[in-house]
Structures are given as C-alpha cells and as structure tokens.
Symmetry: C2
Subunit: 281 residues, 2 copies
C-alpha cells in the first residue's frame, strides 16, 4: 500500500524510523502526471532500495511568467494508482504553502551549466529546480535519487549541486522512455493537437538522423545541426529554441564532434515546449 | 581526547556511527583563533549533546578582495588544546581544496536579510557564509548548531536558510562574550594596537549609553544614533560603517524605538573591522 503524506515533518519522521531499521532510501522527485518515464524511475528505485519515496509537486519557482504553471496537468488520483502499481512506499504531496511559506527567501544558484541550453530560454528555471530539489533532499535525505535523461541538463545541474553542497546522495540518470513512434514521453505531450502530435515525431527523427550522419563519419557540428534544423522545420508552426551539439559534461557548444557528446533539441509546438536529446559516445 | 579530522568522508562516517548509537550531535562552525566566545559555544554544546564537533575553516568565499583573508589569525595547535579543554570530540579542519574543489559552482543566496547592515559593506560576504555553512551542515548533519550573538546578522541569516531549505537543525544564538572592559571578544581584536584597543571600548560604551537613553524614555532612533556616533567618533582614526537601530527580526531600520529592537555598530579601526550589538526588548 502506497501512503500519501503531505507534511515534511511526517516524511522526516518516516525516514528516521526507516533508517533506524537500516533501510536504504530511494527518492524520485516529480511534478506528477506520471507516464512510463516516471514509472521506469520508480521501478529502478524499487529494485535498488528498501523504501521508495515519490514526491509530486508542481513547483511554481521553476516556471517563468507566461509559462504553463497553471495548466500543467494534475491528476493525483491516477498518479496514486500508478505509484501503487509500482509498489512505491510513499507519495509525498506537499502544498505550495508547505514548501514556500511566507517569508521564504533562500535560493540555490549555480554558475555555468544553468546558463546553457534551456537556461538561456527559461530565466530562473534551474534556480527554481535546484532550490526545490535541495529542499526535498533535506526532507527526504535519500541515499539515491532518480532523474530521466530527457531532462539531462537538469540532472547534470542537480549532480553538480549534490557534489558542491556535499549532499550524500547518489544521482542516477536513467534512459529516456519513448512512445512507439519515438517521441520522448513528457507530461507536456497532452498539449499537442493530433497534427502537432504526429509532426512532433520529427524531433526524434532528426536526432536519429544526426546519429546516423555522425556514425557515417560526419564530424562537423554545424553541418549536422543544419540537417536537423531542416527536418524539424517541417513541423507545422514550430519555433526552434535550439538545436545544439555540446560537450556532455560542460554543455559547451562544440564545432568538431568528438568525445562524449550531447545532441539536444528544444522546440515550441503550439502550447507545448518539447525537449529531447541523445548521447554520442 | 579531541580527534582532528580533515576529510568530509571521515566526518560522515563518524556521524553515521554516532547516530546509529542514538547520539545527539552538536556542531560549532568556526574560523578558528578561539577566544572565550567560541569556548562558551563549545561548553553549551557539550551540555546539550552526546557528540560535539567543531569545524575550523577560514572560508575564502566570505572575504571580499582587499579584506583580511590572508592575515586572519591561524593557530591550530592552540585551538586544538582549547577544544580539548572543552572536551570537544572532533575538530574538523578541512583544506580549501576539500571544501572548494576544481569546478565548484553552486552557491546559496538569500533575499532581504543579507542586504542589511554588514551586507551593504561586504558584498558577497553572506553568500559565502551561507554556502560554506550549508556544506558543513550537509557533512556534519548536526541536531543543533551554535552561533554567537556578536555575529547576529549571520546567525539570523543562517536560521532563515535552515528554515527555507528544510535543514532539520536547531540554531542556538548565545550571548556575546566580552573582555572585562566591555569590548566584544573577536579574533580580529589582535589587529588593534594598544591605543586602538583602549579606544575600542567606546563601541560597547556607546551601546550601553543607547540602552540607558532608551530605558529613560528616549524613543527616537535618530537621536540615539546621534549620541552613539558622537561617542564612537572619539576613537582615533575610526571609520564608521554604520550605527543602526533596526527591527530584531527583519533588520529593517526603524525611526521609533519599540518592540524587539537591535542596536548594531560596525566600525573600522586601523586594520580591524569591529562589530557589536545589543538587544532592546
């Protein structure tokens, strides 16, 4: 039985008791609206640990003005059933007032990584992510926390934060889960109309095309990006935020493709902002 | 026997073992060069807890360019003897490379409190303090941490950070310890020449005078500040950073003295920057 807990103090108590029994604690922070990507993290957590804690919190601090905080999908009853099917122990569902009480004034910032890729288009986004994740880490005190590769920049920033601020937590980044036609699963895919949904498959197709070009010996990032952009522009009404080829650790743009590389895309299609990426190793 | 530990990983191990035995952990973060103020915190920690951990780390991140990082007094052998005399269990003495390894990029910021009083004169100071204290808190994971009232703004900012970021730590602020002539004890008092040292007593005398004026019915902050400044200006070569009367919780300047009030002074005398404060309740 998965138990819903709303209060941080109850989580702290729960974890203290579990630790006294020597339990390994796994944590999956989410904004809810679970899809197979979330469930794959829960499954891995269930394998790794004695106690699995999932948080569901649509974090206002990581949305800019004009973004989709208000309409972000919320489906707690369904999420509860899904968490239960994955045998999660706790669904931690704090209120906004619990997380950001009156007088809240402390934030986590980071140099370098948060300025790259999505950071350039979503000012304050990663500050909001780091701040809420640091808070959740301090409440849950997990041994392991799980993030999806789809949000690779986020996972990398959190891993840097964990190292820099001496959180004693292992960060695991698990593969992106895709629909049958290749579209990366995302809670935001529900914003897409039928035509947009079909067109959106071009994002992953462009990434696969890049992979193929590189496998065939192309090592010029600008050339690969040009091919990708050509494909992505076929999505009706698309606005490209970026198509980037970067170093996998620093997220700095590279011109010559070599070493651990990330190819990352962010586009806007109607009301949906979609991101995806692949590794080239 | 007090034990010296240099590595965070060893502290983490030590604390995990102690916790398994149900120990209460007390933590006193310091920059070393112990005086009676530090020792009073250690004594209280010894009374409150099963394990007492003291950190000694002169934190480069909280010094601005041109401040006294290089000449800040360092006396580890003597500090070790003093910690031992107070029956501390652990002296945690990390290197700068241990605390800020290559690639370090994450910082804690706070709105409001860090802009007041000393914050206006030491840009980045409280960011540096919060960042190192958050790191030390994550390594030591204490139940209680101790700060002196002399650095009241620092203690208030740390308490805010602890609340905001969900550290599960009680912050205790203990009274300022003074020399016989009233000068607040500070590791920086060693910078004073004999004449400066004598003149410096005027700081606390001005605070006492303010207390007396207010006890006798004066409730105009500007009038009290004027009297104090007059006294402090008698210190030869003094430069006043501020003489302020503020709300004890918000550190906002007040004109009419009422409720929980803080009177705070910061001055520069030769190479020493000295601060002191008293509560008016």
């Amino acid at each position: 039985m998965t138990k819903i807990i709303e209060k941080s103090s109850e989580i702290i108590k729960y974890v203290q008791d579990a630790r006294r029994d020597g339990a390994i604690i796994a944590f999956v922070p989410t904004m809810g609206a679970f899809h197979e990507g979330h469930l794959s993290l829960m499954r891995r957590a269930r394998k790794d640990a004695d106690k699995v804690i999932i948080s569901v919190f649509v974090n206002p601090l990581q949305f800019s003005a004009g973004e989709d905080f208000d309409r972000y999908p919320r489906q707690l009853d369904l999420d509860m059933k899904l968490a239960e099917s994955e045998q999660a122990d706790i669904l931690f569902v704090p209120t906004v007032a619990e997380i950001y009480p009156k007088g809240f004034a402390t934030y986590i910032d980071q140099q370098d990584l948060p300025e790259k890729l999505c950071g350039a288009f979503r000012p304050g986004h990663f500050r909001g992510v780091m701040t809420v994740v640091a808070k959740l880490f301090n409440v849950v005190r997990p041994d392991i926390a799980y993030f999806g590769q789809k949000d690779y920049q986020q996972a990398l920033i959190i891993r840097r934060m964990v190292t820099d601020l001496n959180f004693n937590i292992l960060i695991k980044i698990l593969p992106t889960i895709r629909e049958e036609d290749g579209l990366a699963m995302s809670s935001r895919n529900v914003y897409l109309g039928p035509k947009q949904r079909k067109d959106a498959t071009l994002i992953y197709k462009a990434l696969k095309k890049a992979d193929e070009l590189i496998a065939n010996g192309e090592n010029s990032a600008p050339k690969v990006i040009k091919e990708m952009a050509k494909m992505i522009k076929k999505i009706k009404g698309v606005k490209i935020d970026y198509v980037s080829i970067v170093n996998q650790d620093t997220l700095e743009a590279i011109r010559e493709i070599k070493g651990k590389t990330l190819i990352a895309v962010a586009v806007r299609v109607g009301k949906a902002r979609l991101i995806d990426n692949i590794f080239i190793n």
